[in-house]
Amino acid sequence: MKKTIHIPIGSQHISLLEPVRFSFECENETIIKVEADVGYVHRGVELACTTKFKFKQVGYVVARVCGLCAIVHSTCYTLGIEELMGIEVPKRASYLRLIANELDRIHSHLLCLSHTAENAGYEALFMRIMKDRELVMEVQEAMTGNRIQFDYVSIGGVNKDMNSELEGVIRNKLGLLHQKVAEIKELFDNNWSLSLKYKNVGVITKEMAYRSSLLGPIARASGVNFDVRNDSDYLPYSELGFKSITMEGGDIHSRNMVRLFELFESIRLIETALDGMPEGEIAAKVRGTPEGESYMRVEAPRGECFYYLKASKGQYLDRVRIKTPTFGSVPGMIEALKGSNYADVPAIIASFDPCLSCTAR
């Protein structure tokens, strides 16, 4: 008789937001073997970027790679193309991009937190965080004109300017959000049933994180101080005094905590950016065509997002290579799932915040 149970999760499952397939070999609900398959939403974006769309339009195409980190993709692409074309971006545009990026991070982190709560069987907390997330969605709508697909960044600058009225709205709503996040943080810290579900579950040690080159909040929760906002000057983070957050635990609880602290940090960054917002143009004139190779990466809510662009003076690019954060963290996810209890699997998967339409493109 077979001793192990084979449990499939996906490609359609209640606890998954997007199609991915895991198959577990379990021994009495303890997982001993994991296999993952992530290629369910392949859309051929990379090919489309080089054959169907001109380089000025590609920014809007790559924004459609993912709904949650749309602005990250378009920012990364735009920065890369600006480097190839040698465009100097106005400072005000840089600041506005930073604010949009951080707003995006806030809403993505809140979504992830709510999803982790829901997958731990706590639907009320899910509803509560989603309700609070509405605040930041409204801010995004007021600032960029859209709730998720912003189309805010364009080559040379940004599409929409900011005025003092809008600034007031942002400050007001973010102040409210700060309070709410503080309450939620207390809940995540103190709730007894959540601690049963989160603490010492799905642990990734520091060595494991280094070995499988993990990124983003997951690596930072394992004590690896790796944050592209520190390691790169793509947006004026160092001017605003950005500090990355690291925790030592490596379990679901510390991943949640890293996300919650990053929410505070993002709110602070936005407020500082609003304080020191420079005056001036919001977009530079765009002339010429791109040439050469560029390696560009930005910090997406889930980790590092990497773009490789190659162009040779044409309207169409030669090669667009996209590396998304979730793709790099799948091996880490497999490591974390091994040896854990099947009952914890949805929470562990959610705590990695997988974004599969990013992953397969």
Partner: protein
Amino acid sequence: MLKAAFNALKNLFSTPATIDYPFEKSPKNKEARGLILFEEPKCIWCLKCEDVCPPGAIRFTQDRESFDYTYHYNPYLCIYCSECVRACPDSAVALSQCNELSPPTDDKNMNDNWFKIEKEAEESKIAVKELKKIKKEESS
């Protein structure tokens, strides 16, 4: 845990955050991006918007006799990126964005005939170019 329970109790007596969606309209910001509006008298027919539109939702077809352009806009294809509004030259300002999203229409041009319009847009321009060439040769 007690705090969460208290919060649940508090929610019981506060107004809900959700709305009866199909019966009530969802709130929309006045800055929200919506449909592209086109004012024909202002247009200088530079075709920059057609060139720049990422999904190709704006197409111009050209008449083979009078060489006049006709504006076609597919709200279903439009991604509301406002790239065309930015591309519209300062002397024209024929395009603008309002905050109404695309309402469902019965316009056959939008769904079934759109491919025909796309094809016509390309073919008519080539045809007109050739017609013009022939005319030039005739006149010279």
